[in-house]
């Protein structure tokens, strides 16, 4: 369609404004993580002119005691309390272990289940698929309550394995539907040809189908990882010793004050893996988020 050049420029300006407006909170957040105490708590917004500091990262990631940070006219050291409770490397490890574990289990189970759903027809299949979807409607708190008791009885409360299983439970329905939609794209003829050539069902699955579905597999894995990485409610209710990053960050909000420097530092660090993964699988992202429902 032909458009007036001025209209095109107007469109550019609007588009940039809107997008920058949406990126601004992240920008502001990351900026705050490099600010000294006084610049964060300034009554007028501070964009420049402050001395960038890594203190917030040194406390949350480096294990430096906050009391040793007597800089900034002593402001950072004025609140009583040790620095150790802000040291978050163990939380990061917890999050990585849980996210990787639940991603791995989700992927293996979901792929097998999706392959079955995609290649075999059985009675009650449609209701079954719909039932998997309806799992997503369960409010997380409704899941948290029974799991809480189940884990207590099984001794899984406050263990990595317990949290991995809980996250797997949340990821599985999405992962199954997603893998099914990717597997449906691969013609079943290929399977049959392979089997005519003498391959077993397992060989067909492993040597013929899996290489073709690699992209979809990666996208599903990334989404599982991100869902687990960002999950809050179950991690909060099911653990007290193991603290995943979102839960750990929320503990920095205390009744005596909110440690914005540490919150923004750890929050910024927590964004990095998700950003990297999203960039890697961006073209599959839409299908992932909509459970493949936009397929033609």
């Amino acid at each position: 369609m032909r458009t007036h050049p001025a209209l095109g420029i107007l469109r550019d300006v609007c588009a940039w404004l809107v997008v920058l407006l949406f990126v601004f909170p992240i920008f502001w957040w990351v900026l705050a993580s490099f600010k000294p105490y006084t610049a964060i708590f300034n009554t007028t917004p501070v964009y420049w002119g402050f001395e960038p500091t890594l203190d917030n990262y040194r406390v949350t990631l480096g294990g430096v005691s906050r009391l040793s940070l007597v800089t900034d006219e002593g402001a950072a050291g004025t609140v009583a309390g040790g620095g150790s409770s802000y040291y978050s490397i163990p939380s990061i490890i917890d999050s990585v272990v849980v996210a990787l574990g639940s991603t791995a289990i989700s992927i293996v189970l979901a792929t097998l289940c999706a392959y079955g759903l995609s290649r075999f027809r059985f009675r009650g299949q449609q209701p079954f698929v719909f039932w998997i979807l309806s799992q997503r409607m369960m409010p997380p708190i409704a899941i948290a309550i029974p799991i809480f008791f189940m884990f207590r009885d099984l001794g899984l409360r406050d263990t990595h394995l317990g949290l991995i299983l809980a996250h797997t439970l949340i990821n599985l329905p999405i992962a199954v539907l997603l893998m099914k939609s990717f597997l449906d794209d691969i013609p079943a003829d290929l399977d049959q040809q392979a089997m005519i050539d003498g391959a077993t069902r397992w060989q067909t699955f492993w040597l013929v189908v899996m290489p073709l579905v690699k992209g979809g597999l990666a996208a599903t894995a990334v989404l599982c990882f991100i869902f687990s990485w960002t999950e809050f409610l179950l991690s909060l209710q099911l653990t007290s010793q193991i603290r995943t990053i979102p839960v750990k960050i929320s503990t920095f909000v205390t009744s005596t004050g909110t440690e914005w420097g540490f919150i923004t530092a750890l929050g910024s660090a927590a964004l990095i893996p998700s950003f990297i993964f999203i960039v890697l699988v961006q073209k599959h992202l839409v299908r992932g988020l909509t459970l493949g429902s936009l397929k033609d």
Binding site: D12, P45, P139, A142, I145, I147, I226, G292
Partner: protein
Amino acid sequence: MPVVVLLVVFGVYPLLYSVWLSLQERSRVTRQFEFVGLKQWEIALTDPRTWDSFQVTLTYTLVCLFFQVVLGMAIAMLLDTERRGYGLLRSLMTLPLVVPPAVTGLMFLLMEDAQFGVLSYYLKQLGIIDPLNPILAGNDTALIGVMLADIWQWTPFMVLIFLAGLRALPKEPYEAAAIDGASAFQAFRMITLPLLTRVIAVAVLIRSIDLFRVYDYVYVMTSGGPGTQTETLSFYAGRLFTLANFPYAAALALIVLISLNVIASIFIKLFKVRF
């Protein structure tokens, strides 16, 4: 398929357990659960706090949904072009989606702080908010403050879906419409909207399910306050869980589940959504 067994164990068991739990009561004397039938349900359905939180949840869902759909559609149409730099813009637009919701809540908590929040500062400058009335502590503004976080995080999701939908549209009807002298708005209303109905319906369905269960933003931003102004059903259930009133929390959570199932089923029938 062993996977089916596993899904049943993890999918059906918690549900049945919730139902069973919701029929119990924790005895004050023995600290044991006792069967009391539908008592918890009766309490839940006559508790004014349930209905308050139901109303909050509904308001939250509808308002957020409205802004996410309208903004999402407008921004998707704005970005749906092959002009220079728009690929980058589309990528940047997806950034909010990977921020953990708990962190998003904190982001907006920081920005809406009464003393040093950047958003509060500009809104004060513009005279939109009363300097003496902090956003998240005001009876009228607290819920809006929480909804802002949700709208920020999930509008990009709508943009992504609508962009994918717009990409799949045929070009011919627009050419025909242009020849017939239709305005851009007419073309949008008569061609784009009808062709995108299914896409919009799916997006609205998925988003409603999540909105109706909102928990994270409320937890980190207001904890339901001031008073119970921002207490959603999920959050109320979570609070009861924390107070160890498990049977009542289970009954409430099941009410959320049932409401959602009813709404979603009607919706799926109405718009013939197929997955």
